[in-house]
């Protein structure tokens, strides 16, 4: 039996990929997830691999039901994203995607906090490349903000890990007890899970990433965070409410968004809210729900970003106010996008209907009626925006007479395969149930559940239709908690960079003036002092006037002339002659 973590298949694969010629790269990219998947299929439950490091044991590979479920979906999504990105010629993006996926798998299979932290940082550093690779000014700035926020989160996580280690003497990663170190670790995880107010990096950076990059980004970072929360913080009540707030928050902000990929990004926050709430609920049904929803979400959100990415790729536009009437030009992309939209909205026969219902059912089991109904509210908002508003104003609505470029066949293939999986899970939930961490006996297709879902969706549709005139995109941006570091950053820039350079310039000018004054003083002390005295006199009597330049020192100015000398010599000789003449007499 081979006991190699699939994370290393990805990391070694990424290095090998760099050495391959351009044409073989896209195909080789697909071979890596296939290889990793085969490896994972051959791995037995309970397998583990430890490496001694200093005096500790690092558990770099821990296989159980929970880590397997996340491992499968990460590998599947890398494969699907690879097909979608077959047209890519940019080796940087391909290699970064593999490192990013490898980092995520490393986190999922990590059995201790140190290994987890190392892969956690690998994710942050490799994923930022997918944002920077778009090579625009906005993406460069958003990428740097993304990187700094994640490095900050990573540092808090590291502080928590070290503190946890000094208190307990163990680096094993299991359910956390409590205390400050656990909260520090929770902070690091919550930042990656995009729990408000730590979420702003997500809608800030994802829409600025490359077309393929955002497909990968939407899959990994938040879902590894859901995994680590499920592993370390299952049953923490605070997460129930954090999740509910996320679910509603994302929906409220999505209303105001004009950029289609930013709208989808806010719905990631909303959907991850379901998973975080489920983790908070704890218990077998809820953890199953979180896992199932993460699994389904990675597929349908990937599909939605693929659809929005195809629009951006072919038209160069991503704003609702600039899009419209594309249905005739790209009907297939529209159809495939709608499969993703129906899945996220929880339309029966699509994957979200199954996975979201498990989460809501877990809350019903705990008799938390408020949680149940607030999650239903988020459901309404999800269908309203992802299922109705975005597609209506992109593919229908006012016709902007756009002439999109042809969509690469790989994009169609990637979307079609992803859409197929979304439908397969919706139609045959056993596919999903078989890989969940705990045995599950939940039947989503009951008549009461179907009628309530259909009622909810149909009348959300009515609401959309009534408000359709108000729902078009507005050419604005929306303030979010990133304001707190984006606006003061300008102030900090002024205080630390601008003002210090101004101070430097002031000191420089002062010194130059001092040197000038002292040269003039030593050049012509009396002249200089006289000029100053004169100009002060002028100022006193005539008001302010420009100080006259002191004349350069003229050595002849205060020197007696030759004529005086001759005169003195003559005078002296006259006196001498006169004196001698007197003596003679």
């Amino acid at each position: 039996m081979i006991n190699l973590s699939p994370a290393f298949v990805f990391i070694i694969g990424a290095v090998v990929l760099l050495l391959l010629p351009g044409k073989a790269r896209a195909a080789a990219f697909l071979a890596i997830p296939v290889l990793a998947f085969l490896l994972l299929l051959r791995t037995e439950l309970g397998a583990s691999l430890s490496v001694p490091f200093l005096e500790y044991e690092l558990v770099i590979y821990r296989v159980d039901h929970l880590s397997l479920a996340f491992g499968y979906i990460f590998i599947i999504m890398t494969f699907l994203g690879g097909i979608y990105g077959l047209h890519l010629k940019d080796s940087g993006q391909q290699v970064a995607s593999l490192f990013y996926a490898g980092g995520s798998l490393g986190v999922v299979f990590a059995g201790d906090l140190v290994t987890l932290f190392v892969f956690w940082e690998l994710m942050a550093v490799s994923s930022v490349w997918l944002i920077l690779a778009r090579r625009t000014l906005q993406s460069a700035r958003a990428g740097m903000r993304y990187l700094f926020v994640h490095l900050f989160g990573g540092s808090v996580l590291l502080a928590g890990v070290l503190w946890h280690f000094t208190e307990t003497g163990s680096i094993a990663f299991n359910l956390m007890g409590g205390g400050i170190p656990a909260y520090l670790i929770l902070f690091g995880f919550a930042l990656n899970a995009a729990i408000p107010p730590l979420h702003a990096w997500l809608p800030d950076a994802y829409p600025e990433a490359t077309v393929t990059g955002s497909v990968f980004l939407s899959a990994f970072t938040t879902k590894t965070a859901v995994y680590v929360l499920a592993r370390g913080f299952a049953g923490w009540d605070i997460l129930i409410w954090a999740g509910v707030v996320m679910a509603i928050y994302g929906v409220i902000f999505a209303v105001l968004e004009n950029d289609i990929r930013r709208l989808l990004a806010y719905h990631i926050v909303s959907q991850v809210g379901y998973m975080v709430a489920a983790v908070g609920l704890g218990g077998e049904m809820a953890i199953n729900g979180a896992t199932a929803h993460a699994f389904a979400h990675i597929l349908y959100k990937g599909l939605l970003f693929m659809g929005a990415g195809a629009v951006l790729y072919t038209t160069g536009r991503s704003k609702l106010t600039e899009l419209g009437g594309l249905a005739r030009a790209m009907p297939l992309v529209f159809g495939l996008y709608m499969i993703g939209a129906f899945s996220i909205s929880g339309v029966p026969l699509f994957s979200g209907f199954v996975s979201k219902s498990i989460v809501v059912y877990a809350a019903e089991l705990r008799h938390m009626e408020l949680v149940v109904q607030l999650l239903n509210v988020a459901s309404v908002g999800t269908f309203l925006h992802t299922g109705l508003k975005l597609p209506y104003f992109t593919w229908f609505g006012p016709d902007r007479l756009l002439k999109p470029a042809p969509t690469p066949p790989g994009m169609y293939a990637g979307m079609a395969l992803t859409a197929g999986l979304c439908v397969a899970i919706g139609v045959y939930p056993r596919l999903l149930y078989n890989i969940l961490p705990f045995p599950i006996s939940y039947e989503p297709y009951t008549i009461p559940h179907l009628t309530s879902a259909i009622q909810l969706l149909a009348f959300t549709g009515l609401g959309f239709w009534l408000l359709i005139k108000k729902l078009g995109g507005e050419a604005t941006i929306t303030l979010d908690t990133d304001w707190f570091y984006r606006k003061p950053s300008r102030l900090a820039y002024k205080v630390c960079i601008v003002s210090s350079s101004q101070l430097f310039a002031a000191v420089e000018t002062f010194c130059i003036r001092l040197v000038q004054a002292s040269t003039r003083l030593s050049d012509n002390p009396t002249g200089y002092l006289l000029t100053i005295a004169r100009s002060m006199g002028h100022r006193f009597f005539d008001g302010k006037q420009p100080r006259p330049e002191p004349a350069h020192f003229d050595p002849n100015r205060y020197r007696s002339s030759l004529a005086v000398l001759i005169l003195i010599v003559l005078l002296c000789s006259v006196i001498m002659i006169a004196w001698n003449l007197l003596a003679l007499t």
Binding site: I252, Q373, P448, T460, L462, L479
Partner: protein, 76 residues
């Protein structure tokens, strides 16, 4: 154009009420199942609430011009 749609939705709503009455008469698990057509009303009402609340938040507070964060770039 609007009227036929409104009639269709009204008919659908009545159908939902009928099906709820048939399904849950006397065997409701929770209070919302005792209200026929609960989820239809829920969907409509919260669709309106979400849009109105967020538009209010946006127009009075959160929405800014697209160059909001770049406006002072000239003095960088």
């Amino acid at each position: 154009m609007k009227r036929p749609w409104l009639i269709i939705f009204a008919v659908v709503f009545i159908l939902f009420i009928g099906s709820d009455l048939l399904l849950f008469m006397g065997k409701a698990d929770s209070w919302w199942q005792q209200v026929p057509g609960f989820f239809a009303l829920f969907g409509l009402v919260f669709c309106l609430v979400i849009v109105i609340v967020s538009k209010l938040l946006g127009h009075f507070w959160l929405q800014r011009k697209e160059d909001y964060y770049d406006r002072n770039d000239s003095d960088d």
